[in-house]
């Protein structure tokens, strides 16, 4: 079942379309992302298909399935091939999340002002890893588009194995064995979560300390693990040194050659690996509806 053109000596994929078993893999960029064709993910999948999808996933980190028609149950079913679908802690429920607690609604409609204020809104959501403010962040997320605006709202992803492999030696030296704190008090749009103080000193940021270099439990490869930039801090350093080091790391990680941007169509499902990829969202016009359903899959404590 070994495909041609896939993992090179550095583990990166080529750009040619290829087959693994029953699926077709069309890489989006050499760095990250691939469209998977010839599979209907609303159905129960056999082992050969799941093995092929996982092989492609580990090579490309982010997979795109186009033109899918999924009920919430089917999205949860598909997600469960990658691990245990998780229900996030919630302070309130909608009819959807009451019935399907594993579904997170990422949307800008059907909410009162208070919920809207706490949501991701429509502004840019900067590079981040989902829920890295948890001690055990999810391994993966699957985002399915139900309604999208005519333009904007693209989701971009970037390859953190590559960012790690390319680290200048002095930068690598400075972060080996170091951890960073991942802010639990604000969401990826920078908004304060309920129950948290607006703490401005990054040295006092609440949240777990994760290693800056983590090992992917399934591929064994090392990746840079940054979480998100605002209010991040590297314990053991002065605030100035921590900020300077984080700024350098982020400038390095956010380079274009590691990234791919996906322009959504209705029925797209994007599956990304939080252990080795970050993502961000472009802004869009709030007067247009955008409704996405996200599932997240249980992971391990980063190591």
């Amino acid at each position: 079942m070994q495909a041609s053109g896939v993992p090179t000596d550095r583990g990166y994929a080529g750009a040619e379309t290829y087959r693994i078993g029953p699926i077709t893999v069309d890489p989006a960029t050499p760095a990250i992302g691939a469209e998977i064709r010839d599979v209907d993910i609303s159905r129960a999948l056999d082992a050969e298909t799941v093995v092929a999808i996982k092989q492609a996933w580990h090579a490309h980190l982010v997979l795109l399935f186009r033109g899918q028609t999924l009920t919430p149950e089917q999205q949860i079913h598909f997600s469960s091939y990658f691990g245990l679908p998780q229900s996030p802690n919630r302070t309130s429920y909608t009819p959807m999340t009451e019935q399907y607690p594993e579904i997170v609604e990422v949307m800008n409609v059907g909410m009162d002002q208070e919920r809207l204020d706490r949501s991701l809104g429509s502004a840019e959501a900067f590079w981040h890893t989902d829920m890295s403010y948890k001690e055990i962040p999810p391994a993966a997320s699957a985002l399915y588009s139900r309604e999208i605006p005519p333009s904007g709202g693209n989701t971009c992803v970037c390859n953190m194995y590559m960012a790690y492999d390319d680290l200048p030696p002095d930068l690598l030296n400075q972060i080996e064995g170091r951890k960073a704190v991942h802010d639990a008090s604000r969401n990826s749009a920078g908004r304060l979560r309920p129950g948290f103080e607006d703490e401005q000193d990054p040295r006092k940021t609440p949240g777990p300390h994760h290693p800056l270099i983590r090992t992917h439990p399934e591929t064994g490869r090392k990746a840079l693990f940054l979480g998100r930039r605002p209010y991040s801090y590297i314990p053991g350093l002065s605030l100035e040194d921590s900020d300077a080091l984080l700024d350098r790391l982020w400038a390095h990680a956010a380079q274009e050659q590691y990234a791919w941007c996906h322009s959504w169509a209705v029925g797209d499902l994007l599956l990304w690996d939080n252990r080795c990829a970050m993502h961000r969202r472009d802004p869009f016009d709030m007067k247009h509806r955008r409704v996405m359903h996200r599932t997240q899959i249980a992971g391990v404590r980063p190591y």
Binding site: V51, K54, S80, G83, G299, V300
Partner: protein, 288 residues
Amino acid sequence: MTVEIIPTDAKLGAEIRGINISEPIATDDQAELRAALARHMVLIFRNQSVSVDDHIRFAQVFGDLGAIADTLLGIGRRPYQPDEIPECMSVISNIKVDGKKIGSLGDGECFWHTDSCFADTPPSASTLYSVELPPEGGNTAFLDMVDALETLPQALRARIEGRSIRHSQVYDSTGAKRPAFDEVSDITKAPGPVHPIVRTIPESGRQCLYLGRRLGAYVVGLPVEESEDLLDELWAHTVRDQRVFSHRWNLGDLIVWDNRFTMHHRDPFDPNARRRLHKVQVAGERPV
């Protein structure tokens, strides 16, 4: 490296020395333990003194916290669960306090099974810690399901190719009907998920026989009689001493097992003796 791995004489199982579960486990040791579990399927840690919090933290060496059987079944918290036990932990015990049970599964035999096969996403591993033990009985045996598949006669293998089992949610591993479920007269209609009989672990490509448990199992698409005959043949082939490791518990033992590649079984014990074990499951994925 502080970890010492001593394989048993059986096809599976290894005793681990040099690990104190009540303390945080070094990163390198964690990697070693995961590799040991992948290789030996059952790990035994002796003479441990493990608090509830220690146990939960240690289980996470092997993956994210899974849910207990009752949560996976959607029947919520049992009324007799002791208060100090958090939601991710189950108590397996025959002990009664003021006439009320504090745990599940009583004192009888637990038939061969894998944990929570009746769930969409059964746990990938289970961890069991002994808190109180009877003077004898209650041994736990483990069975190597990779070996069971590899030694399966070709003709039998051909009959299960592409086949799946529906895993009933109605009975627990002692064969008792769960109060939350009704008795089902037609086995083809029992509630529960459908999982392939030959299970493949996508990352490694390793395969095993995945039978779940005998009671309430049904091979989807076959007439009931044929399904029963096929399952009887599979079970007759599977349960053999040559692929079993049996563990006699000592107080302070903690056992971790791979819940995909193994089944396990508990001997009955004296109903007048007290036995209490704590269990935490590690999250798994939908079997393929």
